[in-house]
Each structure stands twice: as C-alpha cells, then as structure tokens.
Symmetry: C2
Subunit: 498 residues, 2 copies
C-alpha cells in the first residue's frame, strides 16, 4: 500500500514529575489514621479507575473484603508489584514496596464511603476567570481552527499548539491527571476534564489561548462535552457543557460559555440485566448528538446508555432515555450517519450499537478481546459499504463492523473484517480526506512494537498494513489529524522524565 498525503509527525513528550515520598511509618497490623488516609489516596489515584471507589469491580475485578481477605496481605502485595495477565500493569517502580504493602492492607478493610459533592460544593468551586464580555470579539490572526491541544497528564497541564507553525502557544494548569480534551461545537473553546473532577475551559480566541473558566464537578471525572444540536428545536451550539463523573456517580450540566453549574443528575441505579442496585454507576464517556438536542452518556456499571435531552432545561425539565446495552460500557463513537452510536462493553468483548432514532439497542456485536475504540473510525469499505472499526486492548486486531442496515443489510452489525495489527492498542483514527487508518500498539509488551503505529489503506484494505516505528523511546498513542487531513500528530507517552 502507499501512504497518501504529506505525512509529518510531531513527537510530543509527556513527562511525569516523579514523586515517590518515603513511607517511613512502621507497618502495623491495622492501619493508623494517617496510613489509612494515605492508602485511600493511593488506591483512589492508582486503582479506583478500574476497580471502582467502592471496589465493586468494573474493568478490573471486585476487590471487596470478602474477596480480598482470603488472600494474605503479602500475596496481594506481590500481585500489585507484578501485575496480572488480565491486564493490570505492574506497579513496582511506580509505587514503593511500602506503598504496595499499605494498599494491600487497605484492601483487607471495608472501603470507606467517599463524600458527596452537591451543588453547594460545585458552585463554590466555580471560577469565571474571564467573563464573556471581557473575551475577544474576533478570532486571532492565527489559523486557530488548526490548533492542537496536548494533555500532559501526570503534571496536570494542557498545551495549545499552533498546528501551522508548530509553536507551543500556551501551557495551562488544568488539574490532576487530565483525562480528555474536547472542542466545543463552534470550535472556539477547548474543554479538559481531570481525574480530580476539575473541568477547565480554554478560549482559543485569546492570544495566547487562556483559561476562561473552571469548575470542580465532583471528586473523580472522565468525560466532558458540549451541546452541538442546531435545528428545528433550537440552536444549542455551545449552549451547554456536561461533565460525567466517576464519583459521585452523577453528571453536571453547565452553561457552555461560563461553566456556571445548572443541574446535577444522579446515575445511581440498577444494573440493566439483573436489576440489582449499584451504588457507583460511573459515567464512562459522553458524546453529543448533532441530530437531536441530546447528550449520549455511557454508564459503565449498570450497562445503560442515557440519551439526555437538554432542550427544556430552561423550563426545569431533563428527559433521560435509558437504553439497556451491556455491562462495563467504556468508550465509543458515531457511525458515519450519526444515527447509530457504537460503544465498547470492553470486559464483555462486545460493541453495542445504539439506534438513537428508534431509541433502542440495535445490536450487540462480539468483536474480540476487550475492544477499545476511542471514538472509532468510519470509512466506506469497498466491499461492505459504510463501516466503523475498533482496536482491542486484549489482542492485536482491528474489528471492522458494517453500519449500514439500509444499504447493506447483510453486513449490518457484523464484524466484516478482522485486520491483524502489530500489537494490542487503544485508538484508531482516520480523516475523510485521507486514505490512511492509523492504529496504535501501545499495550504491546514488546517495547519496539509499542513505539510502532500500524497504517491501513482504505482503498487497498486487503493489503498487508504498514508498520512504522516512529520513536526509540516511550510509547506512541493519540494520533490526531490536522484540519486539512494531510498531517497526523502523535504523542509519545513516557511515564518518567526523560
């Protein structure tokens, strides 16, 4: 195959300011208050993402005391140090031996109930750094629609880079462990959300780009988006922003241009299949519909997809369509028509296709070992018509799914191709103007493979993909096209300062 377009790679280093404070306190049979507080914090920072704050399990297994107490503390500490074949990373070298032992002892105790975070706290945290009328009235002279945002996760910063000149325009403090960045419907604002629940709004019209507002919507969060619908029911471009939280399990709707909080809605509820109450159903990901005044929220533990209609929020009404999908929903994206939303239930090895028009599950598709699409990638397959694809955390394979039940009913919601790639990975990316499909191999245990991207050709889809090793350090992840579609940017992920 041939790589089409002009390919330039900007390799960006993401560094971790190493901080491993000495833990000197003598190990005791029970945890002292200070040990408990420290273990709780380490668990929250390192473990809760997969196992849940209440330890009920999700991407990782249940770690409630009835499960953990049958395993000696020493054995738990070894598991922490070495990682597991199931996908838990080894923590030795990142946590100290004392920290791992502390967490292991903590796991024998009942998980503490984290505090609530209601409107009073949300409002208290809100900072309108630059009011709307103090912001620029016109865009900067730069090609701001080709700006790139880059998260430096472990130092809690976001940089904005001019995609034309490659200048770093701003590096902004955005909070602990920023998880994602999203651009507003108009493109003017960039929103980040961190694992500390802090949302930050960056105004790209400021010169240089700067923080316009920030707010802490909870104690742990992973997703943010803004309203994108414009049509018969109104123009909601940038009107609302929404953050989905891990803890407390809720979502917060804010004004899009100021982050002023308007409404909190709980996600606590029952699992879709067994109808058991779950105290911690986390909002795993959010996308915003162009076809309806709705956000699409994926609730991990209950396996429910919520279509949240914000069109009557002014009148005090929110409508939530709860669609049964599959447990452990994680990330996903639209098909090419934006009628169907495809979301990975990664611990069930499935992708759920949600029909947002008929408002129901269209299909559950078995794809492979732990699909992780990011937002997936859409193109028109020469044989199968419109398709959407996802890589996998658990195997080196891209699953290609037919998404056109009207034009290609025989292929709809079936895996029509399984394309082998170099390693297990997290993201896939393409651009309508590009013939290339980019896939990372970041989860490969082979360091060189993790430094390699796999490139698939849309027009020559049956051909052997090309593997490009583009770095001799770190791991490659997060491919992003520029606006023109003739350039791909990639992050080099490195856990330690280089």
């Amino acid at each position: 195959m041939a790589l089409t377009g002009v390919l330039k790679l900007a390799i960006l280093a993401v560094s971790l300011a190493a901080s491993a404070p000495a833990f000197a306190e003598e190990a005791a049979p029970r945890l002292s208050d200070s040990e408990f507080a420290r273990a709780k914090q380490i668990y929250f920072d390192r473990c809760a993402g997969c196992h849940g704050t209440l330890r009920k399990g999700a991407t990782g297994p249940n770690l409630e005391p009835e499960k953990t107490r049958v395993i000696p503390v020493e054995s738990l500490a070894i598991v922490l140090a070495e990682g597991t074949a199931g996908g838990m990373p080894p923590w030795k070298g990142i946590l100290s031996n004392e920290e791992m032992e502390l967490v292991s002892r903590y796991l024998h105790l009942d998980p503490p109930l984290p505090p609530e975070w209601s409107m009073d706290q949300v409002r208290e945290s809100w900072k309108l750094v630059v009011p709307v009328d103090k912001r620029p009235k016109s865009p900067p002279k730069r090609n701001w629609q080709n700006y790139f945002g880059v998260i430096q996760r472990d130092v809690g910063k976001v940089s904005v880079i001019d995609g034309d000149t490659k200048e770093v325009l701003s590096t902004l403090d955005t909070g602990f462990a920023v998880h994602i960045l999203r651009t507003s419907a108009s493109g003017r604002y960039m929103y980040s959300i961190g694992r500390d629940g802090k949302a930050t709004m960056i105004d790209l019209w400021m010169d240089p780009p700067g923080i316009a507002a920030e707010i802490k919507t909870g104690i742990d969060a992973r997703s943010i988006d803004t309203s994108k619908y414009k049509g018969e029911l109104g123009d909601f471009t940038d009107t609302y922003a929404v953050v989905g939280n891990y803890w407390p399990p809720h979502y917060v709707i804010m004004k899009g241009d100021t982050l002023e909080p308007l409404k909190i809605v709980s996600t606590r509820g029952y699992t879709y299949d067994t109808n058991e109450f779950h105290p911690e159903p986390r909002v795993a990901s959010i996308v915003s519909s162009h076809n309806a005044p709705e956000f699409v929220l994926n609730i991990k533990e209950t396996g429910v997809v919520l279509l949240v209609d914000y069109s009557k929020l002014d009148a005090g009404t929110v409508t939530e369509t709860k669609i049964n999908a599959e447990r452990f929903l994680h990330d996903g994206g639209w098909d090419s028509t934006k009628r169907y939303f495809l979301v990975a239930a990664n611990m069930r090895n499935k992708v759920a296709a949600i029909d947002t028009l008929e408002r129901k599950l269209a299909a559950l598709i078995e794809t492979g070992n732990k699909p992780h699409p990011g937002r997936g990638a859409n193109w028109t397959d020469p044989e199968y018509g419109p398709v959407w694809a996802t890589p996998h955390m658990g195997e080196p394979m891209v699953a290609v799914i037919g998404t056109d039940p009207e034009g290609h009913p025989e292929h709809a919601w079936k895996v029509v191709r399984k394309i082998p790639v170099a390693g297990n990975g997290l993201f896939i990316k393409t651009h309508p103007k590009s013939d290339n499909i980019w896939v990372d191999n970041i989860l490969s245990k082979d360091a060189e493979v993790a430094q390699t991207l796999t490139v698939i050709s849309k027009s020559d889809i049956g051909a052997e993909p090309i593997n490009l090793r583009l770095s001799d350090w770190g791991k490659l992840v997060h491919m992003e096209y520029n606006r023109a579609g003739d350039e791909v940017w990639v992050s080099v992920w490195e856990r330690r300062a280089r």
Copy 2:
C-alpha cells in the same frame, strides 16, 4: 342548595384488631439489640411515613441525631405522647409509655440503613396464584363494573362489595396496612399496595373475586397503577403495572396481567432546587396517562415529577422526563382534559400544575395550609370555566383552581374560589353526572365535625355548603360514587374495634 340525585349512604366499618404487646424490658441508657429492633419496627410502622426511614424529614421534620440529641429523651417522649400543633397525631393510647420512651431513645441514635430489595428478592416474592389461561373467559353475571373495593387498613384486608346488591363478595388478605386500591384500565382487575411493599391483584371476573397474583416490590410502598394508553403508539390497556416504593426508593414495572417483574428504576438523586443528593426520594403517588404511554410519578423529597414512557420497554428502553416541580410532592390528579396534572406539595402549601404535553411545570399555585387533594375534583364553574379543587390538611377550606389556559386564560392556575368547609380534611369527590361535591372533615379535632361531610353544589356554587353528620362514631373518609353517579359510599374510620 338542593342535593340532587338519589343519595344513599352505605356506612362501612373499618376496624383495628388492637394489639399492644407489653414491653417489659428495663429501660437502659443504650438500646439492647432487641430493643433497637423493636424501636426500629415501631419507628418504621408509625413514624417513617412522615419523617422518612433515614429521618431526613418530609411531611414531618428532620429527625436526624444532630436535631434530636439536643432534646432530652423525656421531652421527646412527651412530644410523641401529645402530638404537635404542626399536625403530628398524639400517640398516647396507641403506643404504650414504654414504646414511646423506646422510640425517643432510638431517635438519639444514628438511623440504620435499611437493606436493598433488588430483582432477586422481587422475583422470589412473586406468586402467580391463578395463571391467565386459568382465569374466567367471560365476566360474572353480576354488575361487576359497579363493584366497590374497601380497604381494612390495619388488618391488612380488602373486601369487594357488589354495589348493586350491597353483598360483601370477598374479603381477601392483602398484606400490612394497604395504602391504596386502583382499578386497571379495562376495569377487570383491582390492585392494592400495602406499606409492606406487597402488591395484590384481584380478578373481578372470578366469582367470587379472588387474588390472581401478588408480589413484594420493596419494603415500603404507597402507590400502584396500570398502563392506560391506547392510541397511535399502541394499545397498552392493562399491559403494565407499576408500583412506587418508599424503600428502597425505586419503582418496579411489571406485567399487568400477572405482576411478573420486568424492570426496577431507582429514584435516588438530587433535589430539584438545591441539587443536593438525597438518599431516600420516595415515590409518593402515581397516575397513568391516557394521552401518552406514560406513568406520572411524584417524587416527594426531590420535588421532581417523572413522566415514565413505557412504550419501548420491550426493547429494553425506558424514558424518564424529569420535571422540576416543588418539594414534598404528595398526591394529585388530572384536570378535565387530562393534559395537566395537579399535584400537592403539601408542606409548601402549594399545588404544582404539570403540563404533560409541553413537558414542564405550567404553574406553582399557593392554595392554603397543606393541600391534600387525593386526586382532586373537576367540574365546570359557572363563572370561571373548568376548575379543579383540593381540600387542606391544615385549614377548613377547599381551594378551587382555574385549569383552562386557552378558554379562560385570566383564571388559569389561579385560586378562583376558597370555599370554607366544616373542618380540615383529606379528600374531595364528585361525578360528572352529579351536581354534588363531597368533602370530608376527618382531621377536625371536633369529633362531631369529623363525622360530618360537607356537600357543595356545582350549580349553586356561591351558596352555603350543606354539612351532613352521617355517623355518631368514628370519622368519615373516602367518598366514592357508584358507576351511575347517583350514590355515594363513605367509609367510617375507627382505629379500635367497636
């Protein structure tokens, strides 16, 4: 005024099998396990209805330890014994002194968290007593559409009476403290719901009427209804039943003809106004829409009205429109067009009018001291057009509200009349074929007034209402018209066996 129609009164005695077991255990500074269990049960049976299982307050004030501990146990016991001016009944004579002291001590302790009640328990409790194909294929020869159901609350029984012949056809065991009875859309089934969360389905085509199915949907419940919509979106007559629970705070949707449980949805969430998380938002009342495939659920603590769309339940989808109304929603009913639903927020002295077409709050109307409409009463006022009315728990007055924003916009959502009645009361009732509006005075402290019904004439609405003392014992409540509209039945409520 003249009483029109033939008026016959059937006075039905409701008796309480007195049970006041001796409480002999010596009072201790702290509660023993058995004392705690007993106090918890008394609190649950007698106090939780108004104060909440978690004691956060609703119809009655908050009773969490930070509020109660500043009051000595002895003083609390006196309040329990004597009742309050705010509306708490005196418990002396109903609870023993020892029981009141026990509850007072219990109120100084942290409220225990009641257990969950998930699908496993719900399903386990389900008894299909008579399968659908074993039930009668045709109605009995009696005039079954004029059957009356009468709750004997404190003995946990429901009687079915032939309205034509006045014969008691069946007396059925329905569970602890049955709260309401509802008839299915077709009229064939009668459903009861008890304070133990037990729903019972009575088949009126059986001869005599008998129990067809039962299920325990939770630990405490207050409301039940069935789907009534028939139209373009399908025929849902009797298709689904729904129970609204106090604990756990959720609703359960079942098959209408068998009570087979299908879906549990949590109501735990945030208050509509302050956006604070509330662990116990109780489903206070439910009505079923004829205009849309929806149940209307009133959530007391959060002040939210839910429109629950059941039309896609088969596909695993439930849509919940959350309408901000007012705190402490209790009971309510439709306007004459069934577009607007009027619900009392009784501790806020208001009625909320919900526009179920526009899906928002139409108005909040200040009516008087603690409105309690039951389902209210509709008629056409000679001066103000279509109106809806509610009596009050806190004052002897019926508030009449204009409900016709199109035909009578100047009167819409305003109190157009305040009609004085004999005493404070709970219910109001009329019939399209009757000129009479019946109001009870059951909350009057004057025993003779509580034995009196007030009758208002629709055609001579400005005239002095007529007061009819119809019993020389007990208290009068629950007026029900017969099918023809020419007869009213009334219950005599007596807490002790006569």
